[in-house]
Symmetry: D2
Subunit: 267 residues, 4 copies
Amino acid sequence: MHTPFFVPLAPRGFSSISPPPPWHYAGDFLVIDFWARPQAVAAVLPAQLQADAKAEGHAQAYFIDWQFTGGHDELLDPARYQYREFFILVDAQFNGKPVAFCPYIFVDNDAAIARGWAQGFPKRQGSIFQTRTFAARGPACAPLIAGSRFGASASAAGQRIARGIVTLEQALTDSAALGSRPTINLRHFPRLAAGQWDKPAVHELVESVMDNFTVADAWMGKGELTLPVCEHEEISDLAPIRCGNGYRMSVSYSVTDLKTLVDHSAR
Amino acid sequence: MHTPFFVPLAPRGFSSISPPPPWHYAGDFLVIDFWARPQAVAAVLPAQLQADAKAEGHAQAYFIDWQFTGGHDELLDPARYQYREFFILVDAQFNGKPVAFCPYIFVDNDAAIARGWAQGFPKRQGSIFQTRTFAARGPACAPLIAGSRFGASASAAGQRIARGIVTLEQALTDSAALGSRPTINLRHFPRLAAGQWDKPAVHELVESVMDNFTVADAWMGKGELTLPVCEHEEISDLAPIRCGNGYRMSVSYSVTDLKTLVDHSAR
Amino acid sequence: MHTPFFVPLAPRGFSSISPPPPWHYAGDFLVIDFWARPQAVAAVLPAQLQADAKAEGHAQAYFIDWQFTGGHDELLDPARYQYREFFILVDAQFNGKPVAFCPYIFVDNDAAIARGWAQGFPKRQGSIFQTRTFAARGPACAPLIAGSRFGASASAAGQRIARGIVTLEQALTDSAALGSRPTINLRHFPRLAAGQWDKPAVHELVESVMDNFTVADAWMGKGELTLPVCEHEEISDLAPIRCGNGYRMSVSYSVTDLKTLVDHSAR
Amino acid sequence: MHTPFFVPLAPRGFSSISPPPPWHYAGDFLVIDFWARPQAVAAVLPAQLQADAKAEGHAQAYFIDWQFTGGHDELLDPARYQYREFFILVDAQFNGKPVAFCPYIFVDNDAAIARGWAQGFPKRQGSIFQTRTFAARGPACAPLIAGSRFGASASAAGQRIARGIVTLEQALTDSAALGSRPTINLRHFPRLAAGQWDKPAVHELVESVMDNFTVADAWMGKGELTLPVCEHEEISDLAPIRCGNGYRMSVSYSVTDLKTLVDHSAR
């Protein structure tokens, strides 16, 4: 019997929550630079990371419309595998090196939750939407031209946790402007046995590995973001003090690996 | 006090289920030609339309990712106004003229249900998905090139009512190939008063009016469609005997009018 | 060919959005008395109703878990027909008589939207939840005893529009305490033809008719309600200045009729 | 800094996908006994379990409406924590002892997915519904009396994966009739690092531990179940050859522990 990559252990592999790697992604990104209170950023970092004092609370909000495929044409089954995502990356340091850490992330698809957990992204279920661009011109098409605006929002359990607007100003020819900190996650899986709740089975600081990262149709402009106060949610602790650039672009990459930086898993 | 276009009668108009016209649309279409049993097509026609014998049961299935806007930047609020749609058009005749009639249509958005009912589209709630194309190349991007495949599906109340695949073969330079029958709907609103259930308040045969119809990036190829048998659903009566061409294109238009052909509303 | 009650005109009637009357309902209610600003209440009334000065802005919020059936065991198809609802009733006067008017109502089911529109309830899509009571005792069961608390919430397009809590104090033996104003709705269906947008095809003030109204397991206690400010929503204009009693009960009734009070439908 | 039980690592604990144990549950169960092909049952067992030849393919389908609470009144936040579930248990043996194993389980709530994964339940997202019983009598209330029928269904990604009906015959005074095999799960969490995909970080056979298990209002009668064939799903491999009893009851219990039987986690 084969060892499954994900549960459920389906004899023919189709009923598993997600296929095993390789995982291929293509998506449309809305990205907004913002600055939160530095103490709020420090509060969401795991013990193994340090605050990045020079960043002054810098963070980024991402709204993404994703298409996923594994090795068996999963992109032809969009009801099961296409999804939308919202997440925050905050600037931090690891061993004196600048990195980005993901404290909160929401998706509208369970296969994406499973893959995210395997990568260390702390995914929860949400409802995420962004304005799309369409090739046929008209008042509803949101063309990729200066002055076009793209709205986005994210909700969890019926509460609006984020709202963003990006106004395009100019095409972006040098995508280096997008920044290049490595994305660091906390990969974590609990133990439920009595007396062992504080000894997680998996607790590792990991670095995302992305192959064939490709950017197309990148634009930059002005970004606006709010993270409203919600009952029993903490993401608004990172509410912007000020916002910066906004970006809109298409991105693709593949995932077949993950790099462990620190392993604190309990044995 | 102003007369609202749609309920609820919100004092400032924002809380109405949809803004009043003009209604502007931009969308990505997957269209599949198919032939159903001619008797099944005849059975879904209202009394005012006749079967089109020469059509031999010809029909089309449409899967659409829509962006909507009214006059107040509704496209920036995609959580409320962006939506996905699946519908069937069957060939018919009205006064000896070839027309297309919509017997079944499903959307995942209540504002779209309201506008649809006003136009005579008999909309119900569903879950609809289609493979998207993304500008950044890679295994998940579904480029607009010969051989690319686009999958689509529609579900209602947790039952899969339609599944389609379009395989691109060639760019379509003459969109006249898409056909040009006018779309005819049955605009209908019931009476609930006892004894008047068979005397609908509104019961009109209407013709859709679309302004500034624009097509971009149109491709044609092979279409495949199934309409599975579902409990308490009749759409599978129209199940394809054979399928024909498939199309993938972007479309935009505006709606500000509707033409009444026959008015049988009870007075 | 039969005249359908609702669209779509399905040959065998199954695929219509909802079966025709009779409509039977059973549900669990959380009800919260509150007082809004009288001017805000007056602003949501249609022209044919007058403000009820003595009511001082009195209104009620209802959160309901509904089970529906028509004449063909629809209660056995809960994926299609079971639903949840949130609405507001405000005190008003019609011809000097005290009545209650429904300015805003949200459900999570399209069949309920269709029936609601036929009755004049201005339904939109929402996500509604309430704490339930379960027969097996334990920390999660919310028993019907003094001190038990029941939470509820409603959201539309990912924004939380209402949040309520009812704390039980005593069983209610005289359900007359629940009040008995007739429920008045504005039944409305637009015209889309150019030049006729302000001449609705249906525009009637109607009174709800409920048969076999039954109440069971009624409790009263303390009610708490908030109607948070949301982007592009007006329901928060009715935000409570103060709250009053809360109720929790089971209710059933049937609908087979509707009474027209004033008919302003355009001819 | 505290060690979180679940991600995300929220500073104040509210934004984690689920609170830590204790976990308290109350729910309404529809249970249907059925017999699948013994080879199909054997195919879904992990290596550490053996087929139970005497069971002849016996299995049970569960449809459950759940209310959850942790230690902070989570039952008052039903939008986030109330959920519905469908799962299958198949008879098996572990070291010669009769046990039940869960090959497939679906819930409509991400907090339930997270807790399930911690317990070894291989949860995916689904849409699950069951007929409810209401205290106020009428045609829609589904009373707990002989002859009452309760319908249920489960869907995943828009495909109907299960449909059940339970017809009540008699109140059940001895809940031992419900059977008492321990529930065995495969607790599993993958490794994504290249070259280690077949060396899961967690791979344990575990036994569920339930405290204060309480049953109320139990009825038994006739059960009917179908597991329709769905695209890219394997659950229909377990389609009933015949069905047996059906049950409807309320259940509550708490979870604070888990027992590991065999640990094959890779080190």
